[in-house]
Each structure stands twice: as structure tokens, then as C-alpha cells.
């Protein structure tokens, strides 16, 4: 589904990504781990079009996406969340969900003014779906709260909610459970698993918690100094000496 070949990204003299190659199969959950500063978030930013690449190829669903703008990439069905969850602060939680809905007719000013009936019908449908998803995320009681008043963990949940509303084929999650309480984090992981099984979504997940990674991912890539240090099943990774040395503290 996502095929990254020899990706390069430099910041001045710093080689943030130094020839990264990585594959995410469709309907899979792939993990991406690595020490701080190893290039995980940079990889997300380049793949999602926020940073221009300095070399290499990115193919998504058989099409080259490197060089496209972030919104074009998102429209092709590849969506990402941010490490520090973002949310338009003066939109309510419910509006945040509606914001993410696909194919909204009222998004250009002409139809917003002249096709109001169609627009409001579609808004109602989206509202129904948003409400269901908020119930699932246990955010219903906050639906009319400004998103700016949410805690960091709640914003993380909301970003996942927006992803579900948007319904892309591949979701890049940047530390989805950071700042979320343990019970809810478990629910969240359960939800990711269910989405993959029932809706055949693919995920690429940056996560620091090795237990979570082992539990969730079929395949794991380890980044270190902008290079892929190792790849394999969680078991293989946990036994890889280089990985242990670089990442897990080394014993």
C-alpha cells in the first residue's frame, strides 16, 4: 500500500532521513520505533507532504505521491495525526468531527449560499455519524465544548475521531496513546485493531511503548540516525542486539 524507497531528507548538514526504505502492506498495522531524534516524525512529515523530500520515492496505492501537497495526499486516502495533537480551538468537539467529513458540498461559498438544502441534509447525516463516533470515543459529554479547552489526551482521542470521520485507507498515527489514561489507551488500541480487521484499514504507528508495539503490530521498523536499523516481527526486534543497544537501553 505504502512503499517508501531510499528516502532522503536533510536539514542543513543533518541527515534526518538517510535512505529510508519501508513498506506498509494493506490491511496491516506496522510499527515505527526509534530513539528520540531518529527521524520518525520527519518521516511522517515527508510522507504526508509537509516537508519536501531531498531524494527517494514514495508510492501510495501504486501512485507516486512525493511532490504532492499535504491536502492532495490526504485526499488520496493517506492521513496523519500529529505528535502534539492539534485542534481548532474555537470549534467545538462536534464541529471538529464535522470538519473532517469527506466530500462536503458546502465547502465552497457558492454552494454554501445557493444549495443550502443539500448542504444541510448532508450536515445532518454527518452529524449522526459524528455523534456515534464520539460515543465510541467517550467524548459525547464534551461535544459542545470548544476543542481548545480539552486536555492533551482528549485532543489525541479527538484526532483519532477525526481520522475515523475522514475514513482514509492508510492512517499514520504519531504516538496515539501518549497522554491518554491507561484504560482509555487500551480501548483506543482495541479500536485500532478492530478498524484494521473490520474495515481493512492500514496503520503506520509511531509508539514508544514497546508493549503496545508488540501487542499491536505485525511488523516493526526501527529507525536510528535516519536509517532503518532493523525490521521484522516484534519478537525479532525485541531480540535484535543492535536495537537493544540503540533503543531499549542495552543490557
Amino acid at each position: 500500500m505504502l512503499d517508501i524507497k531510499n528516502l532522503q531528507k536533510n536539514f542543513g548538514n543533518l541527515r534526518a532521513l538517510d535512505g529510508v526504505s519501508l513498506i506498509v502492506e494493506s490491511e496491516s498495522i506496522t510499527g515505527l520505533i526509534g530513539p528520540n531524534g531518529s527521524g520518525k516524525t520527519t518521516l511522517f512529515n515527508v510522507v504526508s507532504g509537509f516537508y519536501p523530500k531531498d531524494g527517494g520515492e514514495i508510492t501510495f496505492k501504486g501512485e507516486r505521491i512525493d511532490g504532492l501537497t499535504p491536502d492532495e495526499i490526504a485526499k488520496r486516502g493517506l492521513c496523519r495525526t500529529f505528535q502534539i495533537a492539534k485542534a481548532p480551538e474555537k470549534l467545538t468537539v462536534l464541529e471538529n468531527m464535522l470538519l473532517a467529513a469527506n466530500g462536503q458540498r458546502g465547502e465552497n461559498p457558492i454552494s454554501a449560499l445557493f444549495k443550502r438544502r443539500l448542504v444541510s441534509k448532508q450536515e445532518k447525516e454527518n452529524l449522526g455519524r459524528a455523534t456515534e463516533l464520539l460515543t465510541m470515543l467517550q467524548l459525547t459529554h464534551l461535544r459542545n465544548e470548544f476543542a481548545g479547552n480539552l486536555s492533551g489526551g482528549q485532543k489525541k482521542l479527538l484526532s483519532l475521531g477525526r481520522m475515523l470521520m475522514r475514513n482514509p485507507d492508510l492512517i499514520l498515527l504519531d504516538e496515539p496513546t501518549a497522554g491518554v489514561n491507561p484504560t482509555l489507551a487500551n480501548d483506543l488500541l482495541e479500536m485500532i485493531r478492530r478498524l484494521q480487521k473490520e474495515l481493512q484499514k492500514a496503520f503506520l504507528i509511531v509508539e514508544h511503548n514497546m508493549k503496545v508495539v508488540a501487542n499491536l503490530c505485525e511488523k516493526v521498523f526501527v529507525l536510528n540516525f535516519g536509517k532503518v536499523l532493523a525490521e521484522g516481527t516484534p519478537e525479532e526486534i525485541q531480540q535484535n542486539e543492535q536495537v537493544l543497544k540503540a533503543y531499549l537501553g542495552g543490557t
Partner: protein
């Protein structure tokens, strides 16, 4: 009845500036586009309409329409070089844009009559009404335009389009990650805002009947900013209220000159000092302005409410 005439004049000027404040608020308050050259829209609308009517002889209604269209087009033009700029640079470019428009008006005499200005601008339906009732008619016209634009902008802001604009203002990167074409959206916002301010320009030109580049100094943009800061950004009613407060102060103080022991050369700049202090006071003590941004609440049916 000089008092009544003055009141009508004041109300018309409030109405015209209310349109300008609504337009600026649409850009700044809802979309997060810092426009320091708002007066340019005003000028483009005013000049387009009166020049087409005076020189090409088109009907005044069409002049108004062309003023709006060209001003909207100017909004589109401004948004091309600025499209990938951050807010502060957007501010600088628009400031320059405003000055460029004024300088064109000063220097391209063959088109704009230069600093002499355009004189004897015809007024709509003037021949049908008596001299006494005409200002009242114009007031009704301006008021109707304000009410109409208020509802149009409100409709837009409450639509998915408006939601996108607010989201751009608060978190542009997030919008991109959700597949929103933020450049296009900003462009559309500038066109809408340009058209609204262009209407204000046309109303102004055909009311005053004489315009020159002097009417479109950067200080006018400052006044419009004062209106949305005092009234409250992100709220249409706030923009109109701000226009009322600032215009009442700005227009009425011209007549105070007679009653205070200071020369007009002191009073005029003093007015701007006081408005400046007002802006500072609001930013410090009431940054949200007189009217806060409203929260949009969706009423859910009981079966939709889920577990609480």
C-alpha cells in the same frame, strides 16, 4: 434641521464602515488573514464604480456591481503572492498592496484624475427624490446593504465553508492533513471580503460625490481595525457594533473643535491618539472585544445523545 442632517450623515458613515468592518472581520476574525491594507478594497470599489459611471456612462447599479466584482478580483490578486505566507508577512504584503492602490490613484491621472479627484459623481435615483428626502433614501439603501451582507456572511460562516475558514485560522496544518485546500479557501475568503468592502466603496463614492486619493489613506485601515478590536473579532454583530462606537467618536469629535480650547491642528491628531489608546486598552483588558465569538451548538435528539 442641521442636527437631523448630521445624524443621517453619521448613520450613513456608520453603515459604510460597518460593511468595511464586516469584511475585515471576515478576513481577520474568521480566517486569520491579517489584512493591513483593507482600505485598498474600499478604494477599488469606490473608483471602479464612479469612474465607470462618470466616464463610461454605465448605469449606477452596474457601477456598484462592477465595484464589487473588481474589488473581489483584487482580493483574489492579493491572495496569489501571499498564498504561502504566514500571518505577519501577509500583513506586510497587504499593507503594501493598499499603498500601491492609493499611489496608482494619485499618479495615473488619465484614469483617476490624480490628486484632483473624481468630481460630480452622480447619485442613484437622485432626480426622483427631493433634496430633503434624498439623504434618508440613501440611509435606507446603506442600511439594506449592511443587513443583506450581514446575513450573507453569517450564512457563509455557519456553513461547512465557514467552518473550514475558522479551522484555518486556528490550525492550518491540521486542515491540510484533512485534505482541505487551504490556499483555495483563503482565496475564496479574500474574494468574498473584497466584494463586501467594494460595495462599501461604491456606496461611499456615490454618497460623497467627490473622491480623491486623500480618502484612502492607511489611517482608514487603522480605523477599521479599531472597529473589529473594540467590537470583537469572530463575530459579525461585534464588527457592526465596533463600527458604531468608532464612527460615533470619530465623526462627532470633528464638531467638538468649536467647543474645546484647542486648535483643529491638535484635535485631529488627538482623535487618533485616543482611538489608539482605546485599541491598547481593549487588547490589554478585553481582548475578545465587546461581543465574543459565538459557539455553534448542535441540538441533538435524545436518541442521539449517547451515554452522558
Amino acid at each position: 434641521m442641521p442636527v437631523v442632517n448630521f445624524l443621517i450623515y453619521l448613520l450613513i458613515m456608520i453603515g459604510i464602515y460597518a460593511l468595511l468592518a464586516l469584511s475585515l472581520n471576515f478576513q481577520v476574525g474568521f480566517t486569520g488573514l491579517i489584512n493591513f491594507g483593507q482600505v485598498a478594497f474600499f478604494a477599488v470599489g469606490a473608483y471602479t464604480s464612479c469612474l465607470l459611471v462618470c466616464k463610461a456612462g454605465i448605469p449606477i447599479v452596474l457601477g456598484f456591481l462592477c465595484g464589487m466584482i473588481l474589488s473581489g478580483l483584487f482580493g483574489y490578486l492579493i491572495s496569489i503572492p501571499t498564498r504561502s505566507l504566514k500571518a505577519d508577512y501577509w500583513a506586510i504584503v497587504t499593507l503594501a498592496g493598499g499603498e500601491i492602490v492609493r499611489l496608482i490613484a494619485v499618479n495615473e491621472g488619465w484614469l483617476t484624475e490624480g490628486s484632483f479627484g473624481v468630481m460630480r459623481i452622480p447619485q442613484p435615483l437622485k432626480h426622483l427624490l427631493s433634496k430633503g428626502t434624498y439623504p434618508l433614501f440613501y440611509l435606507v439603501l446603506v442600511a439594506a446593504c449592511v443587513v443583506f451582507m450581514y446575513f450573507v456572511l453569517r450564512l457563509l460562516i455557519n456553513s461547512p465553508f465557514g467552518r473550514n475558514l475558522k479551522a484555518i485560522r486556528d490550525a492550518e496544518e491540521l486542515c491540510l492533513s484533512l485534505g482541505k485546500n487551504t490556499r483555495k479557501l483563503k482565496m475564496e475568503a479574500m474574494i468574498v471580503a473584497g466584494a463586501v468592502a467594494g460595495l462599501a466603496g461604491a456606496l461611499f463614492a456615490h454618497y460623497i460625490t467627490y473622491i480623491s486619493p486623500e480618502n484612502f489613506q492607511p489611517i482608514e485601515t487603522f480605523l477599521m481595525w479599531a472597529m473589529i478590536i473594540v467590537g470583537g473579532r469572530g463575530n459579525h454583530a461585534g464588527a457592526i457594533l465596533g463600527a458604531v462606537v468608532i464612527q460615533v467618536f470619530n465623526v462627532s469629535t470633528r464638531f467638538i473643535v468649536r467647543y474645546v480650547p484647542l486648535g483643529p491642528d491638535v484635535v485631529a491628531p488627538l482623535r487618533m491618539v485616543i482611538i489608539g489608546l482605546l485599541i491598547v486598552a481593549f487588547l490589554l483588558f478585553k481582548p475578545e472585544g465587546l461581543v465574543k465569538e459565538k459557539k455553534k451548538i448542535y441540538e441533538l435528539k435524545d436518541n442521539q445523545a449517547g451515554e452522558l
